[in-house]
């Protein structure tokens, strides 16, 4: 199967949140495309809706209106369970706050989606055979420096 040339396509995406008895529209008809194989950066002032848009693209939030296609999948048409499976298989996150599980090693944290999908054991051993793991992969996040955590 050929990979789609457009990784992310948003058409007329709006998103409103309930606030103070009414609705606050955070995204106002966003049209946006991110080509596959390229590094795309979403830049803007704090509170402009970057996180909301990324959450919608990743299938974490549903838009109030509009259509989103990620990796060729029209995720706005997916049921909740399908979105969960989609996130597991197609999306990788590096959270602003990292949100790593402190009890797991770096490699095990990275392997969680694979474990949840049944494609790796809980020690992330499938990953270890694929990538040559170094000592820092076997350390818990609290023992790693911030750049290493992000990696």
């Amino acid at each position: 199967m050929r990979a789609p040339s457009i990784a992310v396509r948003c058409s007329g995406v709006t998103k409103s949140f309930p606030a103070g008895g009414g609705l606050v529209e955070v995204l106002h008809g966003i049209n946006f495309e991110a080509p596959a194989g390229e590094l795309t950066m979403l830049v803007g002032p704090s509170g402009c809706g970057k996180t909301t848009l990324i959450s919608i693209i990743a299938g974490i939030l549903s838009p109030t209106a509009g259509m989103v296609e990620t990796c060729g999948i029209p995720i706005t048409q997916l049921a909740d369970a399908e979105k969960v499976a989609f996130r597991r298989r197609a999306v990788g996150f590096v959270f602003q706050q990292y949100n790593l599980l402190p009890a797991l090693t770096a490699a095990e944290n990275a392997a969680i989606p694979l474990v949840a999908d049944g494609r790796a054991t809980e020690g992330g051993r499938q990953e270890s055979s694929r990538n040559s793991r170094t000592d820092r992969h076997e350390r818990p996040p609290r023992q790693a420096a911030k750049p290493a955590i992000r990696r």
Binding site: T51, R87, F93, N99, L101, P102, L104, P113, D117
Partner: protein, 380 residues
Amino acid sequence: MNGVALRMLLGDRAKYIGLIFGIAFSTMLMSNQVAIFSGLMLRTASQILDAREADIWVMDPRVEYVDEIEPMTDTQLERVRGVYGVDWAVPFYKGLTVAHARDGLLQQVILLGVDDATLAGVVPHLVLGAVENLKQPDAMIIDRAGFQHMWPGEPLALGKVVELNDHRAVIVGVSEASPPFTTFPVIYAKYSNAMNYIGRTRKQMSFVLVHARQGEDAHLLARRIASETGLKALTWRDFTWATISYYLKRTGIPVNFGITVALGFIVGAAVVGQTFYIFVLENLRQFGSLKAMGVANHTILRMVLLQAAVVASTGYSIGIGLCAGFFEVTSRVSINLRAFELPWQVAVGTAVAVFVIIVIASLASIRRVMVVDPAIVFRG
């Protein structure tokens, strides 16, 4: 993801130990108090439980429990024996008297007189001597704790002499009789000897012990005896419960222990429930991450329940072990605390209580986990 759930649980050692301690403490508190309560209540009926051959106890209709005795005439024994379905019926005396030991102490004792011919009603467990020794002249069997009360610090021995109402009685056996509620020594003697010890009166027989014929229903036979003789007849189990019920109704014991047990349950529920609830809530962000990464709700539900099951079973095991250890130690330290033990019913009941508490705490926290917005992970 079970392994991830366990790593999350065990990863924070302080919280994990706190959880286990809370559950172990609650388990110990609940099981200990309930076990002491049930042990105390069983003591009230110890003489019924020790007379194992008797299927039915027959008594004056006004008697409500084993320590309340309205003597009957010996002729009532023949009337009971005449009822169809009775295999055998024997007299049984129960009363209090004072024993004087020449080389020991003065002691109030529970005197039990058993049928001269059959010796039916004697506790079967003897640590010294034999039940048949009771057929010797002036013979009596004393319980182990009673012996130690009367001759403190002395080793158990046969042949010691006591005086009961100016009559000589010789110890021919030392029994392992169940401890009575009053902690008095328990003395068995032949019925005829017991009559000498207390002095002859017109009415002296406390109970008639009845053994039903093979195949005869004990409840039906008890009803038949009651209707044909006008006496009260109860199966040993019903008489045991009647005695326990009397103490439950007439003393403050159940209220006191009930309060302690209830407090144990409430404190235990609060400690366990609150700790586990907070543990899950503190991991809410981690569960949010897992959801964002595509871990399904049912998987997270399974993870939380697994964590709950692990802390509940580990904490319960430690707590119930401590409780069993407590009774093991106390029964060795003081003979007065013998027979206080952990019945399996209490262990099972406590297990159910602990698991109910943890399930409620799990459900309360799971609800929060299920509705947590995975977008929480993007917030600062």
